[in-house]
């Protein structure tokens, strides 16, 4: 039982990180109808900027600085490279984000090299014992901060004027325009929010004992099954999907280790993704879109 609780807690912590990343994907998709394959690289850049700023200032300032820089970069990319493609086919936009992803990955390699670096989590290697279960402080911090951030995002969408405008834009750009909403600003806002979530996720994805390395951008893409499972346009779905993927990976690495040569837990999120696509193509929490043809 202790091991189950231990694994379950680690799975929830990892799943919440995937949830934060998946939420970024979903907000961009809802806000600007863009599936941004470069989002993983924003996660990587966020981690590297925290790494650079940490020795020079307190942790909170380093985090705020990383958010400012990553949001700035996301806004530049959105305005200069993506905005002009709106209205073009989905394939064109997806290919553009793949190109941007490659560019950003190579920029990371050029600036910071190929090696691994230190961890950048807000807490160190310490642990807290609850009964017989050992809870790493890094995982506790991941859960606590993720819950607060997710609640804040939900509040933003439900209770603020900008959140409402963003939802209106996601629902219908024409209707939003007719109501006087600056749709362009909403595109930018969705990218900025996603970049903020990317930096938040990055500090936990590179939390002890994980480290900052160029592969962090690829690790972030494990959130993709989470989005499909939860629903491409569902904020709640992104979080639930993230938890499903995290728990599957961590619990599966123990309870499924004797099946499929020990690799089943690696592919299980993708199997679940395919099953959801077959049964509910719009995801567990996504909305079924109906188009008049």
């Amino acid at each position: 039982m202790t091991l189950f609780l231990q694994l379950g807690f680690q799975g929830i912590a990892l799943g919440l990180v995937y949830g934060l990343i998946a939420l970024g994907f979903v907000i961009m998709f809802k806000g600007s109808h863009t599936f941004n394959f470069a989002h993983g690289q924003f996660v990587a850049i966020g981690a590297y900027v925290v790494l650079v700023l940490l020795p020079r200032m307190p942790y909170v300032l380093a985090f705020i600085g990383a958010v400012a820089i990553t949001v700035g970069l996301a806004l530049v990319v959105e305005r200069l490279l993506i905005r002009g493609l709106i209205g073009r086919s989905v394939t064109v936009v997806v290919l553009a984000t793949l190109g941007i992803s490659t560019m950003l990955h190579n920029a990371v390699l050029m600036v910071w090299g190929v090696g691994s670096h230190d961890s950048v989590g807000p807490v160190g290697a310490g642990t807290t014992k609850v009964g017989s279960v050992v809870l790493p402080n890094s995982a506790l911090a991941t859960v606590a901060v993720s819950v607060v951030v997710l609640a804040a995002v939900a509040w933003f969408f439900q209770r603020t004027r900008h959140g409402l405008a963003l939802r209106a834009t996601a629902s219908s750009q024409e209707a939003a325009l007719a109501q006087g909403i600056d749709v362009g600003r909403m595109f930018a806002l969705s990218w900025a929010l996603a970049a903020f979530l990317a930096v938040t996720a990055s500090i936990f994805l590179a939390s002890f004992p994980r480290v900052v390395s160029p592969s962090i951008g690829d690790l972030a893409l494990i959130a993709i099954p989470a989005i499909v499972i939860g629903g491409m346009d569902s904020l709640m779905g992104a979080v639930v999907g993230g938890l499903v993927v995290g728990l599957t990976q961590v619990l599966g690495s123990n309870y499924l280790s004797d099946i499929g040569g020990g690799r089943l837990h690696e592919v299980l999120p993708y199997v679940l993704m395919l099953l959801v696509l077959l049964v509910r193509p719009y995801g567990l929490f996504g909305s079924r879109s109906i188009e008049r043809v």
Binding site: G113, H117, P209, V250, N254, S257
Partner: protein
């Protein structure tokens, strides 16, 4: 009437295509002004060799450092001796991103332009182009030092393979723990859930059986997608493993050792040389007092003629490069390339066949970086010796014992070859 000309055109096209296909092969480039037979990549002025490695993917840190070792050796020979056989040796670097598909493309592009592969990184990549290497008669030195690559045609491994390092590491740790008929010591093995992991596991299980007093209690596996090692660490801890052998890569070391510390689990960890990268020293600071590396070759902290020559050559070639022990492995392969090309030159045969002939029975001394080796027939393990190192303050390995070989490593090889 039309059919015959069309058939002729088709046949001619096929023959042209076939000829193009063979251009990546072992075709000679003729004879040089000095009477030396020249293969692909060889001219009167140059000998081109390729390094096929990961320069920007998941194991790029080791790939780049390993390549630097080859490049520094060849630069040294060019500067100090004017090259080999009166020709400057050039290195054609190809980035595989550790992806077998890209590896195949890069090999195909490099093959027609190079005499040999001075260093090839990646077991999966090597397997992807094994047929090409055999068809092209391409002499290839593998930096993925395991018996999977050693067994491939035309592929040479100039260092003790990781399996030997792991077996020697286990026998050393067992002795340190006082394992004997009267004192059982529990051991666990962590390996990847793939073919390479199975090979390491077989070697370790052989060593455990061959060493008195060892009991294997856990054998957890991992995949490259794993970022959390709670399951693996807890299975080792719950089984009471006092020695944990790590058949892993640098990508897993921080997670396994870091999470073990978090769960209050402090066994003796021993890995092969391929598992450690010096950059991990910082994030794991204070947690490495019971972690050891069994290395088949020396470290940058050694004080011997070989390491001194490598350090001097690296400073001349790449003064800003950060030291990493993988460059020692590259230096070893570079030294073998130089010796093989010299021997082939003496035989006036700088073709691929000439190089492979030169490699047969080639004896190379590395000025104490590792004991001298004999490449033999190219299909045998060149040495069963390794040395145990601990991790110093800067993440660089420091020896705690002299080179030694275990009977378990030799009996494992004998069993494997049957």
């Amino acid at each position: 009437m039309l059919k015959k000309p069309l058939t002729a055109v088709a046949v001619a096209s096929l023959m042209t295509l076939a000829a193009c296909g063979n251009s990546a092969g072992s075709g000679d480039s003729g004879t040089g002004a000095d009477g030396v037979a020249m293969g692909p990549g060889v001219t009167d002025d140059e000998i081109s060799v390729t390094v096929i490695s990961d320069f920007s993917g998941p194991i790029a840190q080791g790939g780049i450092a390993g390549s630097l070792g080859v490049e520094a050796k060849i630069d040294q020979v060019n500067r100090e001796q004017g090259g080999i056989c009166g020709r400057k040796v050039v290195v054609d670097k190809r980035d595989t991103k550790y992806d077998p598909q890209i590896t195949t493309q890069q090999y195909r592009a490099a093959a027609p332009k190079n005499l040999m592969v001075a260093q090839f990184v990646g077991t999966a990549g090597l397997n992807a182009v094994r047929a090409n290497i055999e068809r092209d008669k391409m002499p290839t030195l593998s930096a993925s030092i395991n018996t999977q690559t050693l067994d491939l045609p035309n592929v040479y491994v100039a260092m003790p393979p990781f399996e030997v390092e792991l077996i020697n590491g286990l026998t050393w740790a067992a002795k340190e723990a006082g394992a004997s008929a009267s004192k059982k010591v529990k051991v666990g093995f962590v390996t990847s859930a793939d073919e390479t992991g199975k090979v390491y596991l077989d070697a370790l299980n052989h060593a455990a059986k061959a060493t008195e007093g060892l009991e294997v209690v856990a054998q957890p596996t991992y995949t490259n997608a794993d970022t959390d090692f709670t399951a693996q660490v807890n299975s080792l801890k719950d089984a009471g493993a006092e020695i944990v052998m790590l058949g892993v890569t640098p990508a897993q070391i921080a997670g396994i050792i870091g999470q073990s510390a978090q769960f209050g689990y402090k066994p003796t960890f021993v890995s092969s040389s391929g598992a450690w990268a010096s950059s991990l020293g910082k994030p794991l600071k204070g947690l490495l007092d019971k972690y050891y590396v069994s290395g088949g070759y020396g470290t940058l902290n050694d004080d011997n003629a070989g390491i001194q020559a490598l350090t001097k050559a690296r400073k001349a070639y790449a003064p800003d490069a950060k030291p990493d022990n993988f460059e020692v492995g590259g230096w070893i392969n570079g030294t073998v390339v130089v010796e093989a090309l010299r021997k082939a030159c003496e035989a006036k045969d700088l073709t691929r066949e000439g190089v492979m002939k030169a490699m047969t029975g080639l004896k190379v001394s590395f000025d104490d970086i590792l004991p001298p080796i004999d490449l033999g027939d190219g299909n045998s393990i060149v040495s069963f010796q390794s040395r145990i190192n601990k991790i110093g303050a800067d993440g660089v390995q420091e020896p705690v014992a002299e080179f030694f070989e275990s009977e378990a490593a030799k009996s494992w090889d004998a069993a494997r070859r049957k």
